[in-house]
């Protein structure tokens, strides 16, 4: 369903992604692991075109993200069309990025009718907080609202960029619980995280990224317990 093919991305002279290819099937949960600076976040951000790729392409259900193919040429899409495409791709940020001047319900209603917004809020267990402002909530609650908001456009896939990294340890669990529920209900997810336990339990596949290339991928049991590659082993020995 998602196809990432030969994606390259540089910031200045620093090449962050050096030819990454990845396929994600509908309903699949893929966890991307890797040391910091390995390009995990950048990879995620190229999928919804927050970062434009230098080379390669990304497509969702066969539609190129950010471009249109006509004959033998690719035409860059206008901002308005890209924004429309993004409604198919939910994105959950490390720092939540809720709109602080809007209430919880208004945050979600920004992209969905009010009644649906309430339903999504129920789904993350925060129906009683609809009139609160984001700053009145704990980090874990804020991230759950952000997940509800990401679901509100009814995306085909939800991308999670280190969704628990900005949270106090005791708040991590409630966010992972919500994500686990989503995974069980068949939501297609690509998750960048350092939560190895979550990866082991929920992921259908783990992808290990290092220095801008995919070093190793496979089922959680294989990659976590019997890593083939030296760099995967070195990384896992530090985080496990």
């Amino acid at each position: 369903m998602i196809e990432v093919l030969g994606v390259h991305k540089s910031f200045g002279s620093h090449e962050v992604l050096r030819g990454v290819s990845l396929e994600v099937e509908a309903g699949e949960v893929v966890v991307v692991l890797g040391p910091s600076g390995s390009g995990k976040s950048t990879l995620l951000r190229t999928i919804n075109h927050l970062e434009k790729v230098d080379r390669g392409f990304v497509s969702i259900d066969g539609d190129l993200v950010g471009y249109r193919r006509r004959g033998e040429q690719l035409y860059e899409l206008k901002e308005r069309e890209i924004l429309k495409q993004r409604r198919h791709i939910g994105f959950v940020f490390q720092n939540f990025n809720l709109f602080p001047h809007l209430t919880v319900l208004e945050n979600i209603a920004e992209v969905a009718p009010l009644s649906e917004a309430r339903r999504f809020l129920e789904r993350v267990g925060l129906a009683d907080k609809e009139d609160a402002y984001p700053r009145q909530l704990s980090g874990g609650q804020q991230q759950r609202v952000a997940i509800a908001r990401a679901l509100a456009t009814r995306p085909k896939v939800v991308l999670f960029d280190e969704p628990t990294s900005a949270l106090d340890p005791e708040l991590v669990g409630e966010v992972l619980d919500v994500m686990r529920d989503l995974a069980r209900s068949g939501t297609t997810m690509v998750v960048v995280t350092h939560e190895i336990g979550f990866a082991r339990e929920v992921a259908d596949r783990i992808v290990f990224l290092d220095q801008g290339v995919i070093v190793e991928e496979g089922a959680p049991g294989e990659v976590l317990d019997n890593p083939v590659h030296e760099r995967t082993r070195a990384f896992l020995s530090k985080v496990l």
Binding site: K84, Q85, R86, F93, E110, Q136
Partner: protein, 293 residues
């Protein structure tokens, strides 16, 4: 007390008979009292002067303060301020958007506008607009370098009041643009990313997400500008428009009660500025709503 050199840890049991039962004497600040007395003496002298010095001429002040001609002039000053603010900020938002645009050309247009209108003194610009009919006797709509469709006599189209409004608004827009821009760039870039990731259309992003948050930074500066414009309208007295300052000049030109009439204008300026400051407080509170815990 413990002897010097040893640290005694007082258990909670012993504490009641220890420090907590002793009264605390606040630190004394005798010089503050000296300062207070000095200021009070100065204020008393000033107030005494206001009351006893016949030069202030309070009877004349009282006669003119609510005179019809003065009230009309206050109205004109308010109209000039409102139009200058509304048109100035409307155009200012457009210019700010130009400066923040990704297009180099539009950035340059915005920058040039701000450069030009900040460079020309307001009074000079106002006199230009006042005398625009010397430059262009007729204004017409038509095809550039081609035939005219409609045309007007400039003098008919732009009255002195119209020239004043245009001048104030164009001047104000340059400053408003920079204030709006400063507000917009103060918004966390993560907010724009979130809005973009949700696929919210561009204009809606600006109106619903960016501007309300930018208002926090915009408002104190904007209030400064409105108050400054409000008093700045006195500049249009050079165009013989009957706003407050022009009107008191006319009256003291006739009766030579300069101080009393300047006080009439001053008190009106103070009253209206006070009202604006109160309004500012409530508007700022509204835009701070997400900040309450």
């Amino acid at each position: 007390m413990p002897s010097s050199g040893t640290l005694t840890i007082v258990s909670s049991k012993d504490r009641s008979d220890d420090l907590s039962s002793l009264p605390v004497v606040a630190a004394r600040h005798p010089w503050r009292w000296v300062g207070v007395v000095a200021v009070l003496v100065l204020v008393a002298q000033f107030v005494h002067g206001l009351v006893t010095n016949p030069g202030w001429d309070w009877p004349t002040f009282a006669r003119y303060f609510t005179a019809e001609s003065i009230l009309t002039a206050v109205g004109t000053t308010i109209v000039l301020t409102v139009l200058g603010t509304v048109l100035g900020f409307a155009l200012g938002i457009v210019v700010a958007v130009l400066r923040l645009s990704r297009s180099r050309f539009l950035q340059a247009v915005g920058w040039t506008y701000i450069w030009a209108f900040r460079s020309i003194p307001l009074i000079v610009q106002l006199l230009f607009w006042f005398n625009i009919s010397y430059l262009y006797q007729r204004l017409s709509l038509g095809i550039p370098f081609g035939p005219e469709l409609v045309s007007f006599e400039t003098v008919e189209l732009i009255s002195p009041m119209g020239a004043a409004v245009v001048g104030l608004a164009l001047h104000q827009a340059a400053y408003a643009a920079e204030i709006v821009r400063s507000g917009v760039i103060s918004v966390d870039p993560g907010q724009l990313e979130a809005a973009a990731a949700l696929g919210i259309p561009k204009t809606r992003q600006f109106r619903r997400i960016v501007l309300p948050q930018a208002m926090r930074a915009i408002l104190p500066n904007a209030a400064n500008e409105v108050i400054s414009l409000f008093k700045g309208t006195s500049v249009v007295s050079v165009m013989a428009i009957g706003e407050l300052f022009y009107q008191v000049q006319v009256i003291y030109g006739r009766n030579a009660r300069v101080v009393a009439l300047l006080m009439v204008a001053t008190v009106w300026y103070i009253i209206l500025t006070t009202l604006l400051s109160i309004g500012q407080h409530y508007v700022e509170r509204y835009f701070a709503r997400g900040d309450r815990r």
